[in-house]
Subunit: 118 residues, 2 copies
């Protein structure tokens, strides 16, 4: 049981698209991730996924439109909805998602990573 | 499906200790709450509860110590752990907790409220 300083945790890593676990709440993890560039289109069959932008601006492409998320804003991608995060510049994001969530969802490719605690 | 601006939502209400629902993710709600003063000692038998401080400073008293949470920090109170939030000055908090969570946990008194969507 300890408090977590989000900025301090972001200072511990520099790789992109590789979520780090910083908290456990019920059957979900709180993760931090740095994004830059384009990800891949994917969906999570059984998991809603929350993106809270801590720094920068994030674009989440959906099949029927774009969602632009600034600092202090969040967006929840419902289960089953295809999405592709895009970060023109570096973005720091707090994620909340069930422990079962794979970063690339229904896709497994070279972007797929297992999240680790920091 | 729309993005939520946290500061805008905080501008919609002014009452203390009355969490407002601003998002739904799997079996949990994202809530916003303004705190000022002392709450009551309580615990949540089955639910971990996340406090993320958006503005101000929050003290969470535990039976075996105090946790002080500043802006950009969060703390997860594990299920079953007695706690009492204390805010010397107004604090804005983002809560994440299962939909079943009652604000006063195992206690029902005049501080007990049902959260509503804003």
């Amino acid at each position: 049981m300890m408090k977590i300083n989000i900025a301090d945790k972001f200072g511990l890593f520099s790789d992109y698209w590789s979520p780090k676990i910083v908290g456990e709440i019920n059957d979900s993890y709180v993760k931090l991730v740095k994004l830059k560039g384009e990800f891949v289109w994917h969906s999570h069959e059984n998991e809603d996924e929350m993106f809270l932008v801590v720094k920068g601006r994030l674009l989440i492409k959906l099949r029927d439109g774009d969602i632009r998320i600034g600092e202090g804003e969040f967006f929840i991608v419902p289960k089953g909805v295809e999405h592709m995060p895009v970060a023109d510049d570096e973005v720091h994001v707090l994620l909340l998602e069930p422990k079962t969530t794979l970063n690339t969802g229904n896709v497994r490719n070279e972007r797929t990573v297992e999240a680790e605690w920091i």
